[in-house]
Structures are given as structure tokens and as C-alpha cells.
Symmetry: C2
Subunit: 336 residues, 2 copies
DNA sequence: TCCGCAGTCTATAACGTTGTAGGAAGAACG
DNA sequence: CGTTCTTCCTACAACGTTATAGACTGCGGA
């Protein structure tokens, strides 16, 4: 059906390799020959067969991106940024959803279906440090997120501790001293929750404010509903607070809603800050102060690092850990 | 480096075709032979090369999904649903972002890079009916969305007119008569905006309520900010209204925010309904009534239809237009 | 005049799989 | 006892590309 390189070669009166050379911008071709080939290409609507190309060259031009789910805005915006960064390099992105489930994450790493891609950007949510060895797969892999540190692969991440400390400092600078946290994970040390809680504690300590466990609200998944529920529970305990640090924006938005229902005014009675700088944070009522964790930078860096590893597979280069720059974004929810 | 089918054949003492047969569950194989092959596969960590498979079989097992941008929640949730539907069929999804730009959409259709996929789910935002002929590409394509009707391909869409009518009826049933619309597109007849506005007018007419152009607020893109701006402009005109129909959820949420800033209570002073049933609509304050347009059904149907076209390429089957079932979701923003 | 050397091109062999055609061995049948 | 039919397996030719090795120009320098 579709024209092959052979058809073009015949139509142009050259060998198939010459056609291949033209298609790949090989330098030493007479302008005249090139012209004839391109005319034939045009005429026959020729377009190289990708499977054959991949088979011969061993590259597919596709990157895999594995995230928990696109319905979580953070990952949707991350995927957006990754696709754009990949496109700038002429690469496509194939997206896998793991649901944040450890078993499915491990299964994905073992799966032969990754054959379709040249490498993988992997953002686990269920796996933890003890699963690090499973990352030693036979192909280029760049780790995203904060579930595993010190693993065998390159790792692009955000400055969770420092950024959370900056968020807390921001609230402290507004004169708030009883700062509640929404979204902590019981006993977690690494992972976004653990690291951000650590940043919170660091900030309190530096400011000489005592840490009060009663102000910490726990949740499982970081969905909006959980932020609301956690806040309801916090209010039910009767503990007094004048600020809330939502460990991500969706939690903060859910919590904000419950605060408003309960009659508290934001930021006057309670100041609120989130983490992620989702698009949505700009349009909530009030607009939500937050941390911009450098998502675009993360996406670009991750794609660049992965592309580098793909180009240079054998390289014994030690795994790198790269952290993006963050930024405190002040909006209405923490206005003075 | 990696083991090939030849290595396995040698290790198992059979021909390569027998290995291939085992890998593809060909029926007539002696249990004993099968066992030996599988042992060799295990031993050598063999996994079939996808590029070679694709080259030989002409199928890649990958579907393309082209959407404007994943940062728009509707498309992120659609992509989520599509990936899940594809996974159920053992297919992968490669996502392209067009930015809703007509030129990029047209370029995508002409691009040879689609070679990587067996077919495309295409959700244009910039193209319109006059571009329909450009959809006649040489490979399986299923159209999504409401920009083009009567084109040369299968089309999976929602019941925009009926659903918008139901949304309006819902407001009317609450005794509202002065219903504003946020998000109309000047002069548009098809497209989500045009169709939903039509549904609104149909409902008014059936109820004997006169159509008042002063109640229609226009926007360009359906981002949150535009909903807010449109509502501000509407309020500035001084027109009186007791309900708002946001042509999608993000517009409704933006409008709701401005209404609240202006001191209006929802739903008491103004009832609000949206369209899309985003996750977010469940957690706004108040929770947002909306239309569930059957997104999951759309994704599943679209993948099924595309898979069918791929399996049966030659089929002269006429293009089908399939509409998903919708549902009015009543929440606080239109409570009695 | 001859050699070497860029520049341009070609023939042919891969890449790793699946499809086609057919062969060997035994069972079923007349 | 031959013939036909299953069942199981094999050899070999594709699929459409890129890589390798080498051939053929003409031209400048020895």
C-alpha cells in the first residue's frame, strides 16, 4: 500500500541507500540527486516506516512516562511539561498510569512492554527506598519524585525540605505561630509528606516555636476530599491554630473549603499555604499562596538527562541527583 | 546484548519459528516442547523485540491521543480514561498536545510521526467543519469533541444540546427564570459553546421564557480566569439574574468565585450549574452542580471503535457518530 | 603519467520477528 | 497395507530500513 524506500529509489533512479541518505540529511549528495529524490518522495507520498527504522537503528524516538494518575492535577501538569520538553527534542511520550500502586509499579519495571520506548521517566508513589534495587533495569531510567533516594539511577527532584521550610517561614513571617499541617503520613521519613513535614519542623525550630503534634493532620492519599476530611477532624479536636500548611495544593484547597464552611475567614482568622502551584491555585477563593516547585525545570531536566543516558548508554557515569529551584508564591490566602 | 529469538531457539534445541509459536500461544505445540522453550526464555531473560514485531506484523499496539493540553482538567481526565480503556485491550497510548491551535492540528494530521501508532484519537479545538476533509488521512482515526460534524471518520461525542437543555431545565425547575450564560462564543453554531447555547435556548423556549442576549457572557478560551472575567463584566452591566449556566465547570468555578466576592450567596441569590463533572466540582465551595457528559463511556467507546477500525482496515463501513449518555449531577450550587 | 584523495553513489548484508510452505511421524480409515 | 488426515515442527523468505564496504568519477600533486 504505502510507498517504500525501494519505490522512491526506483522512481528517482538511484539506489535505496541514496534515498536513505537524503532522508537522513547525509552531507555528500549532489543537489541535483537530492532534488530528484525529494521529488519522488513528494510524488509517492513516501514516509519512512518507523518500525523498520527502529528495528535497524535500535531507537524508537519515544520516551515512557509513568505516573500514578493523570486525574491528579500535579501529574497532569507534569505530563504536559514533559511532553513539551520531549517535543523540543523531537521525541514522543507514551504515558503509563500505575495508580500509585507498588505492585503495579514493580510490574511495570519488569514489563517487556517497555520495549516500545528508549527510556523511562518514572514517578513512583507506592515503592519506597527498600525497592531501590528494582530500579536497576537494563535500560535508561530517570527517577522522579521523592519516594526513593540514593537509588541506582539518575534522580530529578524538588527541594522539598527547603521549600517546605520556606512555606512555613512565610507563615511565620506573617506573625502566625500555631501552624497546622494537613496531609502528613504517619511515620514517613522520606516521600513528599515526610520531607515537607521535616521542612516545617526545621522552620519552627529555627524560629524557636515549639512543635505541637496535635496540629498535624494525617491523610492517606492527597486528594481534595482527604484535605477536607483531615481539616474537619482537626477542627473537631478543638485545637487552636492560626495558619495551615497544606502539604500540597489540593489538600490546601480541600482544607480551605472546610475552614470557610466553619465560618473562619481566610487569611484573617487562618492563613493558608499550599505546595505545587497548580493552575487552580490562582483561581480559588481566596487565591492560594503556594510553593512553585519548579515543575517545568524538573520536566526539562529529566528529559535532558534521560536523552543523555539514551545517547550514551554504556557510560559508567555515576547516578546523579538533581534538584530544581523552588519559589514561594504569595497570594490572597496569606495576605497580611 | 539482549537475547533474540535465535538464542532461545538454540538453547531449547528447536527452530526459531517454534519459539515464535510458543510466544504467540499457537495451539499445536507439545507440552514438553513448550516447556523447554519457556525454560530457555526464562534462562536468557528473553523478551521479543517490539520493533521487529511491528515491522513484521504491521501493528505497533500503540494508539495516539491528540488533545489541546493536559493542563486543562477535562482533557487530563479524558486521557486518564482513554489510557485505562486502552490498557484493558493491551494497548498503549502516546499523547500529543496541539495547544488547540488549528495549524498544529492540521500539521499533526499530515505528520509522518503518526507511523508510531496504529490509529489516532483526535480531539481538535482549532479546526472547524470546513477542515473536515483533512481528516481523510490514510489510517484509522476517531474524532472526539464537537468541532466537526459529518466528517469522513467515526465520531464519538456527547449530547451537548440535550445535556445543556437538561442543565437549563434543572435551573428552571428550581424556579429560576433569569439565567445567565458564561462562556458563549460569538456567532458559533457548532463547537461545544454553540451547541450548549442552543440547548439553553431550546429549554427556555420550551418553558416559554424569553431569550435575553444581555444575559449571555462571552469568553475566548474556557479557562478559569475567563469565567471570572466574564462574570465581572456581566455584573458591571447591571443586568439582573438569578442563575448562571457555566458552559463548562472551570468557567462556572471562576464565575462562582466572582459572584461570592460580590457578596451574592450561592445558591440562594444565584444558582450555578456547570458542565463536565470534573473531580474538582465535588470539592468547591459550594459544591458545583454539573452535567456528567459520560466521559468514561466516551473514552471506552472511542477506543473500542478505533480498535475495530484497526482490526478491519479495509472495511467500507460508513462513518458512525456515537453519542454518550449524560446525567445531571445536582450538588449544593443549585440546592433548593 | 600515475597516484592518492575527496566526493558521490551502489550492492548487499544485516536488524529480529512472523508468514508460508511443506516435511516427518503417527493415527485413522477403507 | 496403502492412503489420508492430524499434529508437530522446520527452513526460508519476507517486512523496510540503515550500515558496511567498496566502486567509480574527476582533480591536484608528484
Amino acid at each position: 500500500m504505502a510507498a517504500t524506500i525501494r519505490d522512491v529509489a526506483q522512481a528517482a533512479g538511484v539506489s535505496i541507500k541514496t534515498v536513505s541518505n537524503v532522508m537522513n540529511d547525509y552531507p555528500h549528495i549532489r543537489p541535483d540527486t537530492k532534488r530528484r529524490v525529494l521529488d519522488a518522495v513528494e510524488l509517492l507520498h513516501y514516509s519512512p516506516n518507523q518500525s523498520a527504522r527502529s528495528l535497524r537503528s535500535g531507537k524508537t524516538g519515544v520516551l515512557g512516562l509513568a505516573v500514578p494518575e493523570l486525574s491528579l492535577s500535579y501529574f497532569a501538569e507534569l505530563a504536559d511539561a514533559v511532553i513539551q520538553a520531549a517535543e523540543a527534542r523531537g521525541l514522543k511520550v507514551l504515558i503509563e498510569q500505575t495508580g500509585g500502586d507498588r505492585d503495579r509499579e514493580l510490574e511495570l519495571l519488569a514489563s517487556p512492554r517497555l520495549q516500545l520506548t528508549d527510556g523511562l521517566l518514572f514517578s513512583p508513589l507506592g515503592m519506597a527506598n527498600e525497592d531501590a534495587e528494582n530500579l536497576s533495569v537494563g535500560f535508561p531510567l530517570v527517577l522522579l519524585g521523592e519516594r526513593i533516594f540514593g537509588g541506582p539511577t539518575d534522580h530529578v527532584t524538588m527541594r522539598n525540605v527547603e521549600a517546605a521550610r520556606a512555606a512555613t517561614d512565610h507563615l511565620l513571617s506573617k506573625g502566625r505561630r500555631r501552624i497546622a499541617v494537613v496531609g502528613a503520613h504517619e511515620g514517613e521519613v522520606i516521600g513528599s509528606a515526610g520531607l515537607r513535614l521535616q521542612g516545617y519542623r526545621d522552620a519552627l525550630e529555627a524560629a524557636g516555636v515549639p512543635y505541637n503534634p496535635a496540629l498535624i493532620a494525617h491523610t492517606t492519599l492527597w486528594h481534595r476530599a482527604n484535605g477536607a476530611t483531615a481539616m474537619r477532624e482537626l477542627l473537631a479536636t478543638g485545637v487552636d491554630f492560626d495558619a495551615v500548611f497544606g502539604l500540597n495544593d489540593t489538600l490546601a484547597l480541600g482544607a480551605m473549603r472546610v475552614l470557610q464552611e466553619s465560618g473562619r475567614r481566610i487569611p484573617r482568622d487562618v492563613a493558608v499555604i499550599g505546595f505545587d502551584d497548580l493552575d487552580e491555585a490562582q483561581y480559588s477563593l481566596p487565591t492560594l499562596s503556594t510553593i512553585d516547585p519548579g515543575r517545568t525545570e524538573i520536566a526539562e531536566t529529566a528529559v535532558a538527562v534521560l536523552a543523555e543516558r539514551i545517547a550514551d548508554r554504556r557510560s559508567g557515569l555515576a547516578p546523579r541527583e538533581i534538584q530544581a529551584q523552588f519559589r514561594v508564591v504569595e497570594r490572597e490566602s496569606t495576605a497580611s
